[in-house]
Assembly symmetry: C2
Homo-oligomer: 323 residues x 2
């Protein structure tokens, strides 16, 4: 069986140019430009919780980085370096297995796109657990925080929400999609796009931002709590796919849209005065940006239905200990 050192050498060691020292010592070394702050975060994917045990390893490698890039996007940071803490069942480390090749190919495919360097990590045997740590740079004082929402801010979301959760619920047989429908929704679940460029372009423009990983209601709720503000949003304004729209009379589709999570889109707030600039940015980046509501003084979130009535929300965001 491959040793842990072989695994690191064979699958995860690639030349680094932006780090002072990459994989192969007790720690990696990075130098930080003056005038910048570092944004650091970590996100873990656990087999049987975040993905099915037989998940495609290429897509898993891709997604394990994507969810971390999404955190950088939500801060307005440029992702630069990553570490990978991989706990791996022995069968997957067996030379007969292609798992590590595919996983690392998926990881590096996305890393290469954003020039993110893998500079360290740890490989251990055990139940499959994928921990990625990401480090990004942001101009000092410019990071997008959850706490900056202002009264009268527009609330925006990028992309379309709910497809990842819809695909998951299909896989869990809680809803049945047609083959062409599941084909349209699965990429959102398996290979989400992190809004890396958008996040960086929103610094100086948005007042607050978060990425939607736990579901719109929960994540917008985090912004409201951190900003000590209230908000109202209109469910009919929330961007979603034609597939989700088709099933919108089913309660589960509404739940996917409002609280499904795993969207990895950005939810941000910005002054009304910046609408044109944000719309121009949307066009330039070819990323749909949609206004879904407004920030108010006070506390709490109201979601209005098609008739403008406040909905009663029984749903909350995904909680790993109360799924």
């Amino acid at each position: 069986m491959a040793s842990e050192f072989d695994i690191i050498r064979d699958y995860f060691t690639r030349p680094v140019s932006d780090a002072r020292l990459g994989i192969g010592d007790d720690a990696a070394l990075i130098a930080v430009k003056s005038g910048t702050e570092l944004a650091v975060s970590t996100d873990t994917l656990v087999s049987g919780r975040h993905f099915f045990a037989d998940a495609d390893p290429y897509k898993l490698g891709y997604k394990s980085l994507a969810v971390n890039l999404s955190d950088m996007a939500a801060m307005g940071a440029k992702p630069r370096w990553a570490l990978l803490a991989l706990t791996l069942p022995e069968a997957l480390a067996n030379p007969d297995s292609t798992w590590l090749t595919e996983f690392s190919n998926g990881f590096f495919a996305l890393a290469g796109r954003y020039h993110v360097e893998l500079i360290g990590g740890d490989t251990t045997a055990g139940p499959l657990n994928i921990g990625v740590q990401i480090i990004g740079e942001v101009p000092a004082g410019q990071a997008l925080r959850r706490s900056g929402a202002q009264p009268d801010d527009d609330i925006w979301v990028s992309g379309k929400l709910g497809n990842a959760a819809l695909a998951l619920n299909h896989e869990l047989r809680k809803i049945t999609l047609a083959p062409e429908e599941i084909a349209q929704c699965l990429p959102a679940l398996l290979t989400p796009a992190a809004r890396v460029e958008l996040g960086q372009r929103l610094t100086g423009l948005a007042h607050s931002a978060i990425d939607i990983s736990d579901g719109l209601v929960a994540d917008l709720g985090h912004v409201l709590a951190a900003s000590e503000k209230a908000a109202s949003i209109n469910i009919t304004d929330i961007p979603c796919s034609a597939v989700l729209k088709k099933y919108s009379r089913q309660k589960i589709a509404t739940a996917c849209l409002l609280a499904g999570g795993d969207d990895y889109e950005l939810c941000f707030t910005a002054a009304q005065a910046n609408r044109r600039e944000i719309e121009a940015l949307s066009a330039e980046l070819a990323v749909p940006l949609t206004r879904i509501g407004k920030i108010h003084p006070g506390a709490g979130l109201i979601v209005k239905d098609a008739q403008g009535h406040a909905m009663t929300l029984e749903i909350t965001g995904y909680d790993h200990f109360n799924p």
Copy 2:
């Protein structure tokens, strides 16, 4: 059951003063002093691999940080910030359980000693897996690397080696220690001291350094490979406890000393001209520092027995995929 947000708020959120932004946003923010580089690394502890499933959670919290501090020590870096990726069986997150209280108390006890701030992390449900990421500062260009060993360098180790492995082998019933003996050895296994001050003081003094986590022979081997050098060490010079000495005729005790791992002592090389300075440092820090051999041109490691004959080593360092 406690939610993942409750867990983070109740057990892991403490005020930060050295970070621009701590737990509670999509990422933490840190500012780095000019003239410094950052050393970053990650180490994971997996239940059933690195510790017994019923391990004392206080000591586990302590050790999960200690093994990461040891990587900072090996680079000569001052540890500053940590992230914690905790995958936790639901039973341990139950309010009836004291596991999280004890674990976090152990973690913060050691973090407080070195003014390390916990600035982020991720809490998920699943088989117990503890990933810590550590970020430290080191003056630019001063980090201790594995690759700097020079011919005629002395090879030094800190502390005493082998007690952690001896305690583990007692727990595994491969050797039987007397109660007072296991009591002496267990702290090395459960609450290892990371040589944080020593590492920082060795910058500018040592040519190369590594921490001994996989075992002396394997870790010194990493230094030799990175430095493209050979070495000879004398087994009788390797510092060990009276307990280990007592069992030294048993093959397993020799294996513990040379290849047991989990020591978290530093192995470093330095010019002969610096002997006095290193001895003075040893006295000042009250950390035993012992010369165990020399670096030579060439490749390979020779361990000499008490008669000065090269030993045949059947043992290698700990490999998680070939334990």
